[in-house]
């Protein structure tokens, strides 16, 4: 049975499917997988500014580790 999914084009020009969104520490983390290669996975933060809604990279490795922990905790069940 077909289901709907959302796809967005990131700064590298590639399409990514949105796997999940998790709110934590005043941020919304968006988890994405490249539509051409499921091994190509990444995380962005969703922010709102005067330009509109943006997906931006994480601050540092520590935030990446934290974001991955959030994803793992939510999706391990």
């Amino acid at each position: 049975m077909d289901i709907e999914a959302e796809v967005v084009t990131l700064n590298d020009g590639l399409d990514y499917v949105i796997l999940d969104e998790i709110s934590a520490h005043s941020n919304v983390y968006v988890y994405l997988s490249n539509t051409e290669d499921p091994r190509n996975f990444c995380v962005r933060k969703r922010i709102q500014n005067n330009v509109g809604s943006l997906l931006v990279g994480l601050d540092d490795d520590d935030e990446y580790n934290m974001a991955m922990k959030l994803y793992f905790e939510k999706n391990k069940k």
């Binding site: 999914a5 499921p38 190509n40 962005r44 520590d62 793992f72």
Partner: protein, 261 residues
């Protein structure tokens, strides 16, 4: 009929998924990640996950290797799996990674999406298990530093170029926040931590902030005043990070702060 985009996902999965046919990927795709991890981790590593006996376990086992070997990834594949995680890390970190959040709806089937999600959960599992062994204290430090006014005052999205690819800091506003801070040193550290993570003109930016918020002419003199100078006369940034992190933790635990400007 499936969207063309999703046809490509199907092809990628059919052609081997995240690991090749000799791996345990197909078995993984049929199990929840929790089942997989619970099966993979013995009681010693379960303790590690809950933070117990951390130091002892760290000496005994590398949980990342254990996790990967248990799910059927041998030495050669292990490097590949860790590489997936490093690839994900590189693709995720960096303030230069900016794009408009414009979404399109596509159709797929639940099985395909579950396989893609399982791949992501596996990468996250590698990151978490490895991260627990190597980064617990770093994560704690990061969470602490993000509470500082200095960290929160450095915002790369306040001023962006029209194409959204570039940005500049409002060092005057940051300096103003620091100047009114009762924990100046902690907030300087917070600001440095954030600017350094962004990686854009770190010393120049910090020079501007320090000059506008203190009696020091620049960041280098601020560090020299705190004894953070190497034998060759250059500033010791690694020592500064370690010392400032420790001071911040102590100040937050004891509800104290210092003002040395």
């Amino acid at each position: 009929m499936a969207d063309k985009t999703w046809d490509s996902i199907n092809r990628a999965v059919v052609n081997g998924g995240p690991l090749n046919e000799t791996s345990n990927y197909k078995r993984m795709a049929g199990m929840s990640t929790k089942e997989l991890l619970d099966e993979a981790l013995d009681p010693r590593v379960q303790d590690l996950r809950s933070g117990k006996q951390f130091e002892d376990i760290k000496k005994i086992i590398d949980p990342r290797d254990y996790f990967l070997s248990y799910v059927g990834i041998d030495d050669s594949k292990r490097q590949v799996a860790v590489a997936y995680n490093e690839n994900a890390r590189n693709n995720s970190v960096g303030s230069n990674k900016v794009s408009a959040d414009v979404r399109r709806k596509v159709k797929t089937d639940a099985k395909t999406k579950n396989i893609v999600k399982a791949t992501a959960a596996f990468i996250a599992g590698v990151a978490v298990v490895g991260g627990l062994a190597y980064s617990v204290s770093k994560i704690e430090d990061a969470n602490l530093v993000k509470e500082t006014v200095g960290y929160q005052s450095v915002v790369e999205n306040t001023h962006r170029t029209e194409d959204n690819k570039g940005y500049w800091y409002d060092t005057t506003a940051i300096a103003s926040d620091l100047a009114s801070s009762s924990n100046y040193d902690d907030d300087v550290y917070g600001a440095y931590y954030k600017v350094n993570a962004d990686g854009y003109n770190v010393l120049g930016t910090m020079d501007d902030i320090i000059a506008q918020s203190s009696d020091y002419p620049d960041f280098t003199n601020y560090l020299k005043e705190h004894g953070l100078v190497k034998a060759d006369g250059s500033i010791d940034v690694d020592k500064y990070m370690a010392q400032a992190s420790m001071d911040l933790k102590n100040h937050l635990e004891n509800n104290t702060g210092e003002r040395t400007r």
